[in-house]
């Protein structure tokens, strides 16, 4: 199959970007989108041009490092997928495909399609943990946790930190990402002790990074590769309001 690509090229975080058009011929429909970009880069190298920079690592949908805006939507026109799991067979022969980085003002473009998502790490640093140091843990079975609670906690914990939720939100809100961790730890007894401190610190960090408010459009849930539910956001709100009412702010 043949496609025409319009790719966002930006030399570094300070320079202004623009679109470049490239034509690719004889692609195999079984290729993943990223493998298609590999082919493009091989072509560019042979033409003595600078290849397109983009992030990817595991290429099996779990590490969260890849992520591109394809035709105006993060990770392309399928719901619940990462860019690496988007295959060319889902495009038509002769398509023109627009490729942009994931957009949010908290995500600075490093080069071309690579963005800096370290703001998400800083939210985690504020409170996305149980303060337990190595060696101090009691026996794992000393703390019974209901099967359903464990499964709910898992569903929240499955977040891969890819930033799709943020990029797909019209407000660039990090609510789904932040709330998934808060909910995981609020669901489990291990998180109980630091419950109020955690939610307040993480929400403050989220705001300090310049992410927007959640206005409950629920677009994040529709795109999340791990299908993290927006009920996590509700839980974060509950936890936060509870902390406020308890005067733990």
């Amino acid at each position: 199959m043949n496609v025409t690509l319009k790719v966002w090229r930006q030399k570094n975080s300070k320079s202004k970007g623009h679109f470049e058009t490239y034509k690719l011929n004889d692609l195999n429909p079984d290729m993943s989108f990223l493998e298609m970009l590999d082919v493009l880069n091989e072509q560019l190298i042979h033409e003595d041009k600078i290849p397109v920079e983009f992030d990817s690592d595991c290429r099996e949908g779990i590490c969260g490092q890849c992520g591109l805006t394809i035709n105006g939507r993060p990770n392309g026109h399928h719901h619940h997928t990462t860019t690496c799991q988007m295959h060319m067979r889902h495009f038509e022969d002769g398509d023109t495909i627009l490729v942009e980085p994931l957009r949010a003002s908290a995500f600075t473009v490093i080069k071309d399609l690579k963005v800096d998502r370290s703001a998400m790490d800083r939210i985690m640093q504020a409170g996305g943990f149980v303060s337990v140091h190595t060696g101090s843990a009691p026996d794992a079975n000393s703390l019974p946790i209901g099967k359903m609670d464990a499964e709910d906690a898992f569903d929240s914990a499955a977040c891969i930190g890819c930033g799709t939720c943020i990029a797909t939100c019209k407000n660039s809100s990090a609510a789904l990402f932040t709330s998934a961790k808060i909910t995981q730890l609020a669901t489990l007894p291990q998180g109980e002790i630091e419950r109020e401190k955690r939610v307040v610190a993480m929400v403050d960090a989220m705001d300090a990074e310049g992410f927007g408010s959640c206005t409950n459009t629920e677009a994040c849930e529709m795109e999340c590769p791990q299908e993290i539910s927006v009920t996590n956001i509700a839980r974060m709100n509950f936890e936060y309001n509870r902390a406020l009412l308890l005067g733990k702010k």
């Binding site: 290729m31 493998e35 595991c58 080069k111 190595t134 291990q190």
Partner: protein, 637 residues
């Protein structure tokens, strides 16, 4: 010359003994000591966090954008721990024995025992961090049996155990970074190890955003840089997984051991074209209900469902009636390769075997099978566009885990003083083959519990050293070498990309030092590797410059190291005239095609010393002595 520094005493007392007598650093002095950790996987992240908790100044370096991307994240199955929660007769000794036997008796008793001994603590630690392992209705932890062992000792979090374990470690690392105990350097790559007077004293790193070359000094360096299975190009590993940190250490004097011991995972998606960048692993659990077969007829092009039962060869069931489709990974991989090599491979590229759920669906119904494997089936369909409910899956073996790595002693110190290797980067606990669900365990045990203790024994002698300056001749030289090399890559201005060389190398390795090897093939392989390396240094093309984001430059560095490591792997495979674990030398097999171990001559770990670029490495033997266990023959008949 090689001293593994195994502590005295009976096997079950050795680690206790060590801890009782090792030297300690008092809290006030820890502040004066710097430690560098390379990598944030399930070994590096816990090591960095734990050392930070203890009070050391820790710097952690990794090439990804955040610590949570490390490839431990992709492990699916589970993590072993001999907790005996199921009351099925499990205990530390059994876990130790299964691991040792699984590794075909090519690992140290003491290390392997310690792995099993500490396993329980890892689960406690993870649960305390909030890792949501599967539970029973009563609220206690659930277990499953994994990797063909007779007890249920595997803890799991759906099919994402690695992710959950890694995120647990990531969370404690984030906490330490937030507290300022650990400083994180994301998008940084280690280019050189700095050794001063025989001691590891720091690294040269490249900032992958600005391209700047940085010097970082430390009193000890821990390599947690993972395995090098990506040398085969097509593997289950991440695109960025590489051997460079380990190889740089090797060039500076750290021995590498068991390097040709590579585990090929039998249930991966086959390659569909030359463009392919990786092979996705499908959980081994599929083999519980799926039946593996190939057509009896060579080059049978019929649609699989049209091939009648009597014209199918369920070769694993035929050859290994006791274990059948659940035969260990190495056997399953090797058998698949045999069938493919014999011209019975299936699929458009004739490079796969069928994994058929037809009978399971008939027996349990599509719904029940969907409950068990629904997410895997969806994943398969997403990638291949074919539904395993309607036609057999196609699978093929792919490089997965490297048992070999940097040689380390009982303290996980390499042959360079103050340089440690943990997790998959070292060679130690798995012998010639790794037991399923032991890799998350080994990484965790090394990172959380071993290196934070053993490093104190070394650093206690460093409290008077003071801050290590970075303006010494050794740092100058290391930086010069690093920059020199980067400049060289760019100045070749040839015609072929680093990716091209990586793909070529992958093919050579797969065919000559792959699932099975033979003397002639390896010899040829070495020749091809050398030719390719020559070509690389004359025809490589790296666009762009040094002081900017330049993925091609990063790739070139990694491929250059792979090209050297490849030859070492070939030498290692060549030297070992026996078949053991994942190392199957075709010349050494029984009449019915089983691995033939040679305990009289090869009961040692091959530790290789670097002797110079392109020169034959020097072999050092660490003899293995088995005091408690008597090596037996692995049989899955």
């Amino acid at each position: 010359m090689l001293n593994a520094k195994i502590p005295d005493g009976p096997l079950e007392k050795k680690w206790k003994n060590y801890q009782e007598h090792c030297k300690l650093v008092n809290p006030a002095n820890k502040k004066k000591l710097d430690v560098i950790v390379i990598g944030t996987g399930l070994s590096g992240a816990p090591a960095a966090a734990t050392l930070g908790e203890l009070g050391y100044n820790v710097k952690v370096f990794f090439f990804q954008d955040t610590a949570r991307r490390a490839h431990s994240v992709a492990a699916q199955g589970g993590i072993n721990a001999s907790k005996n929660y199921q009351n099925d007769g499990d205990n530390v000794f059994r876990h130790f024995y299964d691991t040792l036997k699984g590794g075909d008796f090519r690992s140290r008793e003491a290390n392997t025992y310690r792995l099993a001994e500490i396993s329980a603590n890892v689960i406690d630690q993870a649960v305390a961090q909030g890792v949501p392992f599967a539970r029973e209705y009563g609220g206690v932890l659930a277990n499953r049996s994994f990797g063909g062992v007779q007890v249920k000792r595997t803890f799991y979090a759906q099919g994402q155990t690695g992710q959950q374990m890694l995120l647990g470690a990531y969370s404690v690392l984030m906490r330490q970074i937030g507290l300022g105990h650990v400083k994180s350097y994301n998008r940084h790559e280690m280019l050189e190890l700095v050794v001063i007077d025989g001691k590891a004293r720091g690294i040269i790193a490249r900032n992958l955003i600005t391209g700047e070359i940085e010097r970082h000094s430390a009193h000890a360096v821990i390599l947690a840089s993972g395995g090098y299975g990506k040398i085969y190009y097509l593997s289950t590993l991440a695109i960025g997984s590489n051997a460079s940190a380990a190889w740089k250490a090797h060039r500076k004097g750290a021995f590498m051991a068991g390097v040709s011991w590579v585990q090929f995972h039998p249930t991966c998606l086959p390659q569909s074209g030359d463009y392919q960048s990786k092979l996705t692993l499908m959980s081994e659990a599929l083999r519980n209900d799926g039946r593996i077969w190939v057509p009896k007829l060579k080059g049978d092009d019929r649609f699989p469902n049209d091939i009648p039962e009597e014209e199918r060869d369920y070769y694993l069931e035929r050859k290994y009636p006791a274990f059948g489709n659940l035969a260990p990974r190495d056997i399953a991989s090797r058998s698949a390769k045999e069938q493919i090599d014999a011209g019975k491979g299936v699929g458009p590229n004739k490079n796969a075997v069928y994994l058929d759920f037809k009978d399971a669906i008939k027996e349990y119904g599509a719904e029940e099978i969907g409950d068990r494997y629904g997410n895997l089936f969806r994943m398969y369909e997403k990638i291949t566009g074919m539904s395993p409910y309607k036609q057999p899956m196609m699978i093929s073996p792919a490089a997965h885990f490297t048992m070999g790595g940097l040689w380390v002693d009982y303290e996980l110190m390499t042959t360079i003083q103050g340089l440690y290797a943990v997790g998959e980067a070292n060679f130690s606990d798995h012998g010639a083959n790794r037991l399923g669900a032991n890799s998350l365990l080994q990484a965790s045990v090394d990172g959380y519990f071993i290196v934070p203790v053993t490093i104190g024994n070394y650093l206690s002698n460093e409290i008077r050293t003071g801050k290590i300056p970075t303006d010494t001749p050794e740092f100058d030289k290391a930086e010069e070498d690093a920059v020199e090399r980067l400049k060289k890559f760019i100045s070749i201005k040839g015609t072929k990309s680093a990716e091209y060389y990586h793909k070529q190398l992958g093919k050579i390795m797969f065919h000559h030092v792959g699932v099975s090897r033979n003397k002639k093939g390896i010899e040829e392989g070495i020749k091809l590797i050398r030719e390719l390396r020559e070509d690389f240094w004359t025809n490589l093309k790296v666009p762009g410059g040094i002081y900017e984001v330049n993925s091609e430059l990063e790739k070139a560095g990694r491929v250059a190291d792979f090209l050297e490591l490849a030859e070492l792997m070939a030498h290692d495979a060549y030297d070992r005239d026996e078949s053991c674990g994942a190392h199957f030398r075709e010349e050494y097999q029984t009449e019915d095609g089983e691995a033939l171990r040679n305990d009289d001559e090869y009961m040692y770990v091959s530790a290789w010393e670097y002797t110079g670029y392109g020169k034959t490495p020097k072999l050092h033997k660490e003899e293995l002595t088995f005091e408690v266990v008597k090596p037996s023959v692995r049989s899955y008949k």
